[in-house]
């Protein structure tokens, strides 16, 4: 299941990692390798341990047993300043300090390189300038962070972690609380960091389709265990979504990127397509290039195309009922 990442090499890994809160054990003996120079996305249902895993790797939580390894060295044995020069962390909802300007906050990302007797250097200036340009917040330099919109703020926080000049970046649900346009903006930025700067990016995301669109390496978790790991086009199937989320769905190629697109199955008869929009099961529109990727995974991507989509599910059937046959996917716009 837990396939080794391709030839990229491993930067972060966990060994026998056991983490819990009070009585509850969230992760129990987890062994995991994260590929270097990749955008890794961790997905899974609420309380599956994905945030706990990320926070432990970011040394915000202390494991009960086992270790997080950064290039093979246990992260707990490294001085926190050294870790901060190699690993940037963006927690889920950072407290926005009152009256701090954007440049000031981004400048605090230089902390691991500064001492009270050496508070600023040319490298600091260059790194802050570069980080603000990369995250596209240079025009906001003098604005107090607490006056910015959610999307702008998130870019500022990312700029702060970029100013740290780390090889790797860990982000806990960086798109939560943002509208769709800002979500895409943030994910595009993370994608660019990986593609153009060769940074290792690890993020917890809620949206499976965004995960499939952006991730090089997808990790699906359930109840503290890794259910599957690998490139989304190879591992993201209807079976996996059912295993992980307990939700029946249809996986079709995304009409824009060709990445797997997860569409929940018909969960209520009222949602069935009406006569106005004839339901046409999607058979890989336009012979999309993504289709082979799915067959590679050896999974029936579009289940039971024979079932007429127009047939409403039997009355009384409830959502998530595994026995309930899936209705066909919704018609695609066809472009």
């Amino acid at each position: 299941m837990n396939r080794t990442p391709d030839s990229r090499g491993v930067m972060l890994s966990t060994s026998d990692l056991t983490v819990g809160y009070d009585e509850r054990t969230v992760l129990d003996g987890l062994d995991l390798d994260l590929p270097a120079d990749a955008f890794t996305v961790i997905v899974g249902p609420n309380a599956c341990g994905k945030s706990t895993l990320l926070r432990t790797m970011a040394r915000l939580l202390t494991p009960r047993r086992g270790a997080v390894l950064l290039d093979g060295a246990a992260i707990r044995d490294l001085p926190t300043r050294e870790v901060a020069r190699r690993l940037g962390v963006l927690p889920q909802s950072p407290l926005v300090p009152e009256g701090v300007t954007v440049a000031d906050l981004v400048g605090r990302g230089r902390q691991p390189y500064q001492r009270w007797w050496r508070q600023w250097s040319e490298q600091d200036a260059a790194a802050v300038d570069r980080a603000m340009t990369q995250a596209d917040v240079a025009g906001l330099a003098d604005r107090p962070v607490d006056t910015l919109s959610g999307g702008q703020r998130q870019r500022v926080w990312i700029a702060m972690t970029l100013a740290q000049d780390t090889e790797a970046l860990l982000l806990d649900e960086p798109t939560t609380f943002l509208d769709l346009a800002h979500q895409v903006e943030v994910l595009d930025l993370l994608h660019r960091l990986r593609a153009e700067r060769g940074r290792t990016v690890v993020a917890v995301l809620h949206d499976l389709n965004q995960a499939a669109r952006y991730a090089d390496h997808l990790i699906a978790m359930r109840e503290g265990k890794v259910v599957a790991a690998g490139p989304p086009r190879e591992i993201l199937t209807a079976d996996l979504v059912r295993d992980v989320f307990g939700l029946d769905c249809v996986v079709v190629p995304c009409p824009v990127t060709g990445a797997p697109l997860v569409v929940p199955g018909l969960t209520s008869p009222h949602l069935a397509p009406t006569a106005a929009g004839p339901a046409v099961p999607v058979h890989s529109p336009g012979g999309d290039s993504a289709a082979p990727a799915h067959s590679l995974a050896g999974d029936p991507v579009i289940p039971a195309p024979a079932v007429p989509a127009t047939t409403p599910a039997p009355a009384g059937s409830s959502a998530g009922d595994a026995a309930d046959p899936l209705a066909g996917p919704y018609p695609s716009k066809g472009h």
Partner: protein, 354 residues
């Protein structure tokens, strides 16, 4: 978006700051903070001269300056022996209160968290009251007050440590500690001899009357010993605006840092309170005034110290002259300014969160 390139960080520092070099040490200073410090210093000097001049007898400012320069005037006794020690004490104590308030408020991320709100002053007050009413030697009052203030801080630490010294709980626990200690102080005072009770009462309000060089010496000594710590603290305070996770992410150890900064603030606050009594609200108001003048998320230590010194010198002057010949303790005046200011803070916060 990037067309309006407002300002960029340069080798000299972030926008609005300059790099001040002293040998191997290079420190980032906000230019606005330097301006505020310069203006406050001028105002402080003016307030000191005014305070030396006003009173009975009145001494013209020119004579004050001449006397200070050692030229020898008929007013030397009044100016140099009677007024200077008291005013130097006011300035020193005010500065120390300003620094202590800044440290504790920044650690708690709450403008209400000053030593007189969270129980440090009340702990010192209880110990001093006990010392005074049990007839202990006068020299023991200050050490007792110091221990009382530190004891209150330890109690607070024990209450707060259970929750990892979280900022908000720290303040709530402090307010509870302050009330409990004040109630105990009342009990001690009421059950004591009325004369001793009155003396304790005056101590509790806080006055600079009849105090001078020896009190100043203790405060200055503490400040001197803490100077290296304060140099570090001025920088470390930058991290306190961030939440713990974010702070850890950039390589800080927020817990250790908080304990270090708070301990420094508590030691300073307890020392000053032991020397001048419970002069309320200077530690609360000075950092906030300095912060607003500098327009930063927290006041630079030097600015808070200067504003604190100015506040206490003015409060002492007003206490001496406002209802002359009746002398009001400086603590009454600072409370009269601080009370309404505290209400203003509360109202403003509520509006912000509404």
């Amino acid at each position: 978006m990037t067309a309006v390139q407002s300002s960029r960080p340069t080798a000299a520092g972030l926008p609005g700051r300059s790099l001040v070099r002293l040998g191997p040490v290079s420190v980032q200073v906000r230019r606005r903070a330097m301006l505020v410090a310069a203006v406050t210093t001028v105002l402080l000097a003016a307030a000191v001269v005014l305070s030396l001049s006003l009173g009975t007898p009145y001494v013209a400012p020119a004579d004050v300056l001449r006397s200070l320069s050692g030229a020898g005037t008929p007013y030397d006794l009044v100016v140099r022996d009677l007024r200077v020690p008291r005013i130097v004490l006011a300035a020193t104590a005010g500065a120390a209160f300003g620094i202590a308030g800044t440290l504790i408020q920044s650690v708690a991320r709450n403008p209400l968290a000053s030593p007189d709100v969270i129980g440090i002053t009340q702990g010192a007050g209880l110990a001093a009251t006990v010392a005074i009413t049990t007839g202990a030697a006068a020299v023991l009052v200050a050490p007792a007050a110091l221990l009382g203030g530190l004891g209150a801080a330890l109690l607070l630490l024990a209450l707060g440590a259970r929750h990892g010294l979280a900022a908000q709980r720290f303040v709530l626990a402090g307010v509870a500690v302050a009330f409990a200690l004040r109630a105990l102080t009342e009990v001690v005072m009421l059950s004591a001899d009325p004369i001793d009770g009155l003396r304790a009462q005056i101590w509790l309000i806080g006055t600079l009357a009849g105090r001078g060089w020896s009190e100043t010496l203790w405060i200055a000594l503490t400040l001197a010993v803490l100077l290296p710590v304060l140099a570090w603290a001025g920088w470390a305070l930058n991290g306190t605006a961030l939440d713990d996770d974010t702070a850890r992410g950039i390589g800080l150890r927020p817990g250790a840092r908080r304990v270090g900064l708070a301990t420094t603030g508590v030691v300073l606050a307890a020392t000053v309170t032991a020397q001048v009594g419970a002069v309320d609200f200077v530690a609360l108001v000075a950092p906030q005034v300095a912060r607003r003048l500098v327009r930063a998320e927290r006041p630079p230590l030097a600015c808070a110290a200067l504003v604190g010194a100015l506040l206490l010198v003015l409060a002492d002057l007003a206490g001496r002259r406002l209802f002359a010949p009746t002398q009001l303790p400086a603590g009454v005046l600072t409370a009269a300014i601080g009370g309404p200011y505290l209400m203003f803070l509360l109202v403003r916060r509520r509006r912000r969160f509404a």
